[in-house]
């Protein structure tokens, strides 16, 4: 796979990348939308290809290419605090060409390296798969009325997931997944040469250099993010095979599921035991520490099956320090339980 990733980059890939960028997507710091390049490709084409390929084939990122403007999109009608705003990065088309070419290659190998519980951004997987699964599993939990061994589903909400990713963690993750050093350098070059300016009310702030975080708006970010999330997925799988956290099986023949991810939206499913909760807590601490992710406790919730004892519930809630227990909550924008 590494060979496929590192095969010499070609001009055709650059053109394919340009074609896939929408004509009038908001331009980056240099103010040139992609339609400009498309329109004058005959004049510029050779030059653009040459420059982009030079970066891809090992050259330095030229100064100014990776200048990024952040605009703040309000999440609510009357934004008052910073957290009501969503920072979107606007990158230059030239940079986007580089990152898109990389993303197009990375995309192809994702189905082989990302665990099946992740359904975001992997070609051939669909968001609805996770919705259906989550729904089916919560249905199973809600119908567990008798017997020992309660079940629990925990939805974890990562706050500012992209912006908190630590770069060294990303690098380590890629090394662990077996990418070659040269490819990793290429990716890290794209991620770390960023400089930001923030646009507020039409004015720009001074330039500054970030130390962590992936940008919303960089074509590579989604894929890099799921590489990072793969870290948590691996930890959970290991805990499963060590018997520390027991996932849920709908039936004897069904595969055991202990987590479902859609990018940063995660749903963890397990037997409601104290030991499991402890193990989960440990894993989350480990992951938070390493990746920089933080769980937003206010937006997370736990769902217990009706046969779970009050004592077990209480304990588990304390361990995870998540208070909300809700059946009317949503996962991926759809209710997790409908019906009578």
């Amino acid at each position: 796979m590494n060979e496929a990733l590192l095969a010499p980059f070609t001009g055709d890939e650059v053109w394919a990348a340009l074609e896939s960028i929408g004509d009038l997507k908001a331009p980056g710091a240099d103010g040139m939308p992609s339609i400009f390049y498309k329109q004058f490709w005959q004049l510029l084409g050779e030059r653009v290809k040459k420059e982009v390929l030079e970066v891809l084939n090992g050259g330095d990122m030229p100064q100014g290419w990776n200048d990024t403007i952040i605009v703040l999109i309000p999440k609510v009608k009357q934004p008052e605090k910073l957290k009501d705003l969503r920072p979107i990065s606007l990158c230059n088309v030239l940079y986007k060409l580089v990152s898109k070419v990389l993303a197009n290659r990375l995309k192809k190998i994702l189905p082989d390296i990302i665990s099946p519980s992740q359904s975001a951004f992997v070609p051939g997987r669909m968001i609805t798969d996770n919705v259906l699964l989550a729904y089916e599993l919560t249905h199973h939990i809600n119908n567990r009325r008798r017997g020992a061994g309660g079940l629990a589903a925990i939805k974890l909400d990562m706050s500012k997931a992209y912006d908190r990713i630590e770069w060294p963690f990303l690098k380590k993750m890629m090394q662990k997944l077996g990418f070659q050093e040269k490819w990793i350098d290429l990716i890290m070059k794209c991620v770390t040469t960023v400089s930001y300016r923030i646009k507020v009310n039409g004015e720009y702030t001074d330039r500054f250099f970030p130390q962590r975080g992936l940008r919303h708006g960089d074509p590579l970010s989604p894929y890099l993010f799921i590489l990072c999330a793969e870290g948590l997925s691996a930890l959970l799988q290991q805990a499963e095979s060590d018997g520390k956290i027991e996932g849920i099986k709908i039936r004897r023949e069904a595969p055991r599921v202990n987590h479902l991810f859609f990018a940063d939206d995660s749903l963890i499913l397990m037997k409601a035991r104290c030991s499991g909760a402890q193990a989960l807590k440990q894993i989350m601490c480990k992951y938070e520490l390493a990746s920089g992710q933080v769980i937003n406790k206010d937006k997370s919730f736990i769902l217990f099956s009706p046969n779970t004892g009050d004592h077990a519930k209480q304990q588990k809630r304390l361990i995870m320090s998540i208070n909300q227990e809700a059946s009317a909550e949503r996962y991926l924008g759809l209710p997790v339980s409908v019906g009578k």
Binding site: V131, L133, R251, V338
Partner: protein, 290 residues
């Protein structure tokens, strides 16, 4: 806002918002009808008047543009088409995690096609089974070795309406398509086929290509490549509805062609959309002039 503006607003917002929920859940006929009513009321409302006569029948704006409608979707049928896609995915890519879990729970030993609703199943599964009904209407089996296809019960003869043999079974002992294939040549046993079936069936059957190295596989009949699409499933759903209502597809166009109106032409005119909309309303005799 102009009617043309409203058209875009309805299509891009009011009819687009529910699609995500529709891809997993059956929103029920009642809710879909309610949404349609709200959309219709908005569409016909005018700023100066609160009450407005509906000058074109509500049903008609649901028609596709070529048939004299506006191409507003029938939300419920669209819902069914979206659910049919889920069923199609489960049928054709069973290896996904979701496919594995659902298979283990609801059809461990059979395929999704044999599933029927029973007590205690989840709402989303019930919804998918609804979509499955539609999917079955458009499914056809391509013949590989013929072992999995039942001659009399499965749809496998590629032609427009009925994709099962029209020949009555009678006392024929044949059950599987594989029995019609000559094992030595790997092609149809021509003698047997012509003896068993009426000529109408036999002539079509003999043109079906066989790929003996493959297992029989399902494809979508209404696409040249055999790939399912929500769009064609929606079209099929509309067709079925029209058939059930007793007006076959041609009669609704016949009614509109009485007015000697080629609807397609209106929308092809290179005018601002507003003007095209005006002509459309004129053609429907729905301009309030008095």
């Amino acid at each position: 806002m102009s009617k043309a503006g409203k058209e875009i607003l309805v299509k891009a917002v009011a009819q687009a918002i529910p699609t995500y929920a529709m891809s997993c859940f059956d929103l029920t006929k009642g809710l879909c009808d309610e949404l349609s009513t709200i959309i219709g009321r908005y569409w016909w409302s005018q700023q100066d008047k609160s009450e407005q006569d509906t000058l074109v029948k509500l049903g008609e704006i649901d028609e596709i543009k070529e048939d004299g409608g506006l191409g507003f979707r029938d939300l419920y049928l669209f819902n069914m088409a979206m659910l049919a896609r889920q069923a199609w995915r489960l049928l054709t890519s069973p290896d996904t995690l979701c496919g594995q879990v659902l298979k283990a729970k609801y059809f461990p030993n059979t395929t999704i096609l044999q599933c029927t609703a029973r007590e205690g199943i989840s709402y989303s599964w019930r919804s998918i089974l609804q979509g499955l009904q539609l999917l079955k209407q458009g499914l056809i089996w391509r013949i590989g070795n013929g072992n999995n296809t039942n001659i009399w019960a499965d749809p496998w003869i590629p032609r427009g309406c009925i994709r099962k043999p029209i020949t009555p079974r009678g006392s024929s002992l044949l059950t599987k398509v594989s029995e019609l294939i000559d094992p030595s040549t790997g092609d149809w046993d021509e003698q047997l086929v012509t003896d068993t079936f009426w000529p109408e069936d036999a002539s079509v059957i003999l043109t079906i290509p066989i790929d003996v190295d493959m297992v029989d596989w399902p494809v979508w009949h209404f696409d040249p490549m055999g790939k399912f699409s929500v769009k064609s499933a929606y079209k099929l759903a509309i067709q079925i509805r029209d058939q059930n209502l007793g007006r076959d597809a041609s009669s609704s166009t016949a009614a509109s062609s009485n007015a000697e109106c080629n609807w397609h032409k209106i929308w092809q005119l290179k005018f601002p959309n507003k003007v095209n909309m005006f002509i459309w309303r004129l053609a429907h005799n729905s301009l309030p002039v008095r």
